[in-house]
């Protein structure tokens, strides 16, 4: 039984509401689909009913939301819902070409063998498929993709049971059994569960642990105490509600672009797939773009002032620390220490 979660959007836009309802209605008609409707995934309270329901689900799952695949995936991860990133084939039209162009480059980058936080975790045996409601305006596209994914999951499960590979006809007979000993699907149609929960608007960073290398730049940078470390000294978002609303400063200092703010207006910060520029070169750095560290420091200072605190008023932190120290004349102690180098200990 593969659960299909539909996380509704914040907006009251009737077109968006209709799309969600159309997809829910279609999936609801089909026996064997367990549809769970929850409010906006990002805004959910960690201990609330919706999150508890999600945490109780087992096995592979499909989730529809109004976020990029990466964002949805890592929001779930933060709440203890871990899994492998499922292959979703439904993409926005212009992204398909870019994916083809980018796939060559990504292989080269991975060959660098940088240790990411995710490499230190046991490999999850579940797969999570995150679908972004924004990639199409046609409900049917989503329903078909959900069906394709369900078939893929079922096919894989069956292959594991029989320790072989099912043929198309065998899988079709399994899904639509004609014989009289068939037990029928575990759930009947019309089984959609809707969880209503008051959800306030939240703003907090989401860490993508497939990119994070635990370098700790973010915890050094954020002066609002949003980041912390867990028992295994791994970075995590410890106090999400300390995060200053609208501030994306830390995402700019992360060297691996591992910090996502799912609601930010810039796709790269909101978790869009990397290398989505396609065939266009970005000349912004040449045309006067201030460097990322400067922008980040400025945004952080704005937030400090708004919070009634002193701004830091510097660009790179290290530059200021070094500017304060004065070079002093070497004394006999320095010479002695330098002398140690020549002893070849």
């Amino acid at each position: 039984m593969i659960p299909i979660v539909v996380s509704t959007g914040q907006s009251k836009n009737p077109v968006k509401r209709e799309l969600e309802e159309a997809v829910i209605a279609e999936l609801d008609k089909r026996p064997g689909y367990e549809v769970v409707v929850i409010p906006n995934l990002y805004d959910l309270s960690p201990k609330g009913e919706s999150m508890s329901a999600l945490q109780a689900l087992e096995g592979d799952l499909i989730i529809f939301s109004w976020f990029y695949q990466r964002s949805a995936h890592w929001i779930l991860d933060r709440h203890g819902i871990h899994g492998k990133l499922g292959d979703v084939q439904l993409q926005a039209a212009d992204e398909e070409e870019d994916e083809a162009a980018a796939s060559g480059t990504e292989d080269e980058a991975d060959a660098e063998d940088i240790l990411r936080v995710i490499d230190q975790r046991p490999v999850s045996d579940r797969t999570i498929y995150c679908l972004d409601f924004r990639v199409s305006e046609t409900a049917n596209d989503f329903v078909e993709e959900a069906q394709r994914i369900v078939r893929e999951i079922t096919g894989q499960e069956l292959d594991q049971w029989i320790q072989g590979t099912l043929s198309e006809q065998q899988q079709a007979r399994y899904e639509q059994p004609q014989n009289d000993t068939a037990m029928g699907p575990a759930t009947q149609a019309g089984n959609t569960v809707r969880i209503e929960e008051a959800a306030g608007r939240r703003w907090y960073p989401v860490i993508d642990f497939s990119r994070c290398t635990n370098c700790m730049e973010c915890i050094d940078f954020c002066l609002f105490g949003v980041y912390g470390v867990d028992q295994s000294e791994t970075i995590l978002v410890e106090q999400p509600d300390n995060c200053r609303k609208g501030c994306p400063a830390c995402s700019r200092v992360c060297p691996e672009n591992a910090i996502v703010f799912p609601q930010h207006k810039t796709p790269a910060i909101a978790g869009a797939a990397a290398d989505n520029e396609g065939f266009k070169i970005d000349l912004s750095l040449l045309f006067g773009q201030p460097n990322a560290a400067d922008v980040a420091a400025q945004e952080r200072d704005e937030q400090l002032v708004l919070a009634g605190r002193q701004p830091v008023e510097e660009t790179p932190i290290l530059a200021k620390r070094q500017a304060d120290t004065q070079a002093s004349n070497p004394d006999s102690l320095d010479e002695l220490i330098d002398g140690l180098d020549t002893l070849n200990l």
Binding site: F279, I281, L286, F287, G288, Q289, P290
Partner: protein, 152 residues
């Protein structure tokens, strides 16, 4: 006016008139009275190639901070955000460009002008033509690396 200065971008001879100043972000700056008119230098236009779309995210008149993001441009080969070259009061955008940005390609130093600014500070971070050519010597290598880096 003396002959324009030339800088070789690979095999392309980019020309820079000497009757105006230049900003580090590859815009030219022509003063007339209190106001300075800005446009793209040949260096910028060569990198962009055919301009398809120009968009400003502010309306004139408005106060600008240097390096503030003020708009974006999309061309055949590239896209970029655009940043204010100086601080001051932006008094006008060249509205005709919005309907037909290709004027940037056909008349970059004249009708393809971008916007007018009344600067806040008499000390402007602008370069003479000769200083700009020196600046280009420095950035040409970085430009090529930036482009190669993105193609990889």
């Amino acid at each position: 006016m003396s002959e324009p200065l030339v800088f070789m971008m690979g095999e392309f001879a980019a020309e820079f008139p000497t009757d105006r100043q230049y900003a580090r972000n590859h815009m030219w700056a022509l003063a007339s009275g209190e106001s300075i008119r800005f446009g793209f230098s040949a260096y910028a236009v060569r990198l962009l190639q055919d301009v398809y779309f120009l968009d400003w995210n502010l309306a004139a008149p408005v106060m600008l901070q240097q390096q503030q993001e003020i708009g974006s441009i999309e061309s055949k080969k590239a896209e970029s955000s655009l940043y204010a070259p100086v601080s001051g009061q932006l008094t006008a955008f060249n509205d005709k460009l919005l309907a037909d940005p290709s004027t940037i390609n056909t008349d970059k130093y004249g009708k393809g002008w971008l916007f007018d600014v009344e600067p806040a500070d008499p000390e402007l971070p602008l370069l003479t033509p000769a200083q700009y050519i020196e600046h280009l010597d420095g950035v040409w290598k970085i430009t090529q690396q930036t482009i190669k880096g993105q193609l990889n």
